[in-house]
């Protein structure tokens, strides 16, 4: 349709506006979403019974029963409650599912998604006033609210509206539809991830405000629940605040972890024999469910390797065999517990992968891989090496290290070590540990980069022959005096990747200083990949 009309359009249209004019016709045909009602303040489509609730959260029976007693029978007022516990201990999901079981209406706001006071306030008001952001109202909230004073006034209005509707429902309790309605006349506000509020700008007023909200509102039909990672004593305030009722979720014990990890496994017997072997050593490192389940996944695959039939129930003999097969993999895998795999997926890299596996098998003792497992352009690699050298070496040595002879030989300068110089060496080592890498200005970095690239005898491998970028870089590096703008772009992308951090500017010089953040291992890997003799340029004290 638009292709026929386009000759008639005299002014230039962008692709976006042309697309929009097409969509305008479609949106009117799209099904309008139902307006929200008080029944939508419930969680989950179907209610669950208490046994289902307790069985779906192993090891949390005590917490569930106690939390339900804190909430109390229907229509009983409650003190504000502060639920705290470590990460992935099930706080949010248990609280939400308790509300699903009790079928009481609530409003949920998480301080992860609501990252500023305005968004937090507007999200709560939208939910209470049953407002859905959609195309028709331009995805705006029902009221603009960024100050706590406005929030309190609007909240009072909204809460009285919802409570009024709930009271009306309660009076019609005998009708058939009542089974789908929420229970009771109380509304609950749940604030999740409250510890993130401590990092907001206005946290010194917002936190006491939220904690005092119950006393400010003075409405007994409202219940407040705060969920946080840290306990109340980490919330500092000058003049204090009204303390809510604390409730602690302890981390899972080993037995609970075993039950949780077994829950969704297909072959429970096999997995349980696997856990017998692995769970205890891994629990010495971390007891968080999310970290354990990701760490155990590759190990389980290895455990099942000798088995022909994955559905088999292992007997003692098989268990011993499987353990024997797995044993030498446990220790290295413990040291990789938190490793996030780079996840190369392209077909070309699969051959690289096999090659790498060969190298790894040869160096079985070393736990880290021998090569870089992510891709960087060649000029970025040289830039990284230059930054590392600039941070490590004192500036006064630059002239001698990077002279035209291509780097002096450090061995010439080695003195015989006497007791005093050994002591000096120790103190300087200690200093290096404590102080960290030094800062350098941009000019020094570019000077070193120019030196390195003019001297480097880099020839790309067969692997990189198809890499156009590699060829392009070869061209610029042969030209010794030329530094293109792409180098500065590479610098800013290295900064974004946190390999180099940009420090504050020195007030005298007025230029920004940079600092390299990478470890020596990574730079060694990078240097190896471009065949750069790093040790010649590294200043050893």
């Amino acid at each position: 349709m638009s292709s026929e009309e386009s000759p008639q359009i005299t002014r230039r249209t962008t692709r976006l506006s042309a697309a929009n004019s097409e969509n305008a016709v479609d949106s009117s045909k799209s099904c309008a979403l139902k307006p929200l009602s008080v029944n939508d303040l419930l969680y989950g489509n179907s209610p669950i019974s208490l046994e289902e609730l307790i069985s779906s959260f192993p090891g949390r029976r005590g917490q569930i029963i106690e939390l339900m007693s804190l909430l109390g029978p229907v229509n009983s007022p409650m003190f504000p409650t502060f639920v705290h516990g470590g990460s992935s201990t099930g706080k949010t999901s248990i609280v939400l599912n308790i509300f699903r079981h009790l079928r009481r209406p609530f409003v949920y706001a998480s301080c992860i998604t609501c990252y500023s006071p305005r968004i937090l306030f507007e999200s709560i008001l939208n939910q209470l006033m049953l407002h859905r952001k959609s195309d028709s109202n331009g995805y705006s909230s029902i009221k603009r609210c960024d100050k706590p004073s406005d929030f309190v006034n609007l909240l009072r209005e909204a809460l009285s509206g919802v409570i009024g509707t709930l009271q009306g429902n309660a009076e019609k309790a005998g009708s058939k539809k009542a089974a789908r309605w929420p229970n009771g006349k109380m509304v609950y506000l749940i604030f999740d991830s409250l510890n993130l509020v401590k990092e907001w700008e206005k946290s010194s007023t917002i936190l006491p405000f939220l904690f005092n909200l119950y006393d400010i509102l003075r409405m007994p039909e409202v219940g407040l629940i705060f969920i946080s990672n840290n306990s109340l004593d980490t919330y500092y305030a000058d003049t204090g605040f009204v303390e809510p009722f604390p409730f602690h979720f302890p981390d899972y014990s080993e037995d609970d972890l075993r039950q949780i990890l077994l829950k969704h496994q297909v072959n429970k017997n096999l997995y349980s024999s696997f856990l017998d072997v692995v769970l205890r050593p891994f629990c010495r490192i971390t007891r968080r469910v999310n970290e354990l389940s990701t760490a155990l996944l590759p190990l389980f695959k290895k455990y099942c390797e000798p088995l022909g039939d994955l559905g088999a129930v292992p007997n003692e003999d098989m268990k011993r065999k499987l353990y024997g097969h797995l044993q030498r993999h446990i220790a290295p895998s413990l040291n990789e517990t938190f490793r996030v795999s780079a996840g190369l997926t392209s077909g070309a890299s699969r051959s690289k992968d096999n090659k790498r596996k060969g190298i790894v098998k040869k160096l079985e003792a070393c736990t880290s891989s021998y090569e870089l497992d992510f891709h960087m352009s060649t000029s970025a690699k040289f830039l990284l090496i230059s930054a590392f050298l600039a941070s490590r070496n004192p500036a006064t040595l630059d002239a001698s290290l990077f002279d035209s002879t291509g780097g002096s030989d450090n061995r010439k300068r080695k003195r015989k070590s006497s007791a005093k110089s050994l002591e000096q060496k120790e103190t300087t080592e200690q200093e290096l540990l404590m102080k960290g890498p030094g800062t350098f200005p941009l000019e020094r970095l570019l000077a070193i980069f120019q030196c390195l690239t003019s001297v480097a005898e880099y020839s790309p491998d067969a692997e990189y022959s198809s890499d156009v970028e590699g060829q392009g870089n070869r061209a610029t590096m042969g030209d010794s005096g030329y530094i293109g703008s792409h180098v500065l772009l590479q610098l800013s992308s290295l900064c974004n990747a946190n390999f180099i951090t940009k420090g504050g500017s020195c007030p005298l010089e007025g230029s920004t200083r940079y600092r390299s953040n990478v470890s020596e291992d990574l730079v060694l890997k990078v240097a190896r990949s471009v065949k750069f003799p790093l040790s010649k340029y590294l200043y050893r004290r």
Partner: protein, 421 residues
Amino acid sequence: MGLKNPAEQAVILLRSRLCNPNFIFTLFSDSPDSNYSKLKYIISSSVTESCNNSVLLLGPRGCGKLAVLELVLEDLLREFPDMISVIKLNGLLHSDDNCALKEIARQLCLEHQLAFSKMASSDENSQFLIAMLRECGLAHKTVLFVLDEFDLFAQGKQRLLYSLLDAMQSVTSQAVVIGVSCRLDADQLLEKRVRSRFSHRKLLFLPPSREDLQRLLEHALLLPSGSDLPHEFVANFNSKLLNIFADKKFKDIMDTVFNTDSTFKQVLTFLFSALCHLDLKRGFLSVENFKDALSNIQRQPKLECLKDCSILELYILVCMKRLEVREHETCNFNSIMKEYKSIHDSFQTTDYYARDVCRRAFEHLLRRELISFLDNRGHGHSIEFRPVKLLISWQELYQGLKSYGSCPAILYKLVERETTT
């Protein structure tokens, strides 16, 4: 309304009592020298004599300042129906002057059924305020300003306080300013010109005495006979409760509560927790409920945090403690790793993990706030070089290790050894 379990009804009734501060403080309003009567006298005398006044209510949090004020205001509104209008401001919400003026204007409009425009500027609002004060003065109506969190109004330039107190100086206005604050030196925060216009009346609110506490218990927990609960249930409940009050174990529990923190808020939280532990099937409170409530309010958060740590994290904490004992002024992740390696070398522990794993455990500890960075300025540095400090003391660490359960013996030895040397 279906037939509810009488225990459930009783629980709902008691919970609504505990969550309603007005109910609790009516108990303390009868004696003549209580804060209630003094406050009532001050305000009612300024209402009847048509004069201006100001008073500060001071006291620690949870001692009933605002609750007593609410009771007084309720009574006065009943006694002098058309002669009082109340404006309530809160320092947490309205410490900004523009916000405060807007809120005052909104409340005045609400009370006198005038149309309120949100677009009015603060100049217009302040003119409106002055005009209203004049009109109310001429009509012999007193305006009461309640300023909660008074110390937060005293930050910055104190323009609102000055304009309010200044407006009160004119002959035609009749206003009373009541400030409520938990800072006992709130009046020292005022500027000279504000303080000179402020009458230095202060009422001090203190936590209750032991006898008052006993009266509070009975007032709050004994079921009334006039409610619609079955009579014999009420009689049973009350008699069981009085037995508990006379029990020695209960008296010990109450002494502990009183000695740790005897503010009203804490006692009410204690009673609330005891009510939550009430077994609905039995239907009556017991001493065990109060014992459970006591352990609920006597939390040791750092100890709980330590119990949640993994063994690697405990190693890191012990390394930091050893470095601290050796008087290294600052330590960072690298020096902790050096110490960790030296422990492994000298004691041949089985728990020696790679640097990446230790760094992650270090980050977990930071998240739990058992350790923290020394300063926030070092954002440029990577996490390995920023200096950190321990946020728990040696005793807490030692107690945590003892109650850990499967803690390796080497950690006890390391922590113990440092204290004896």
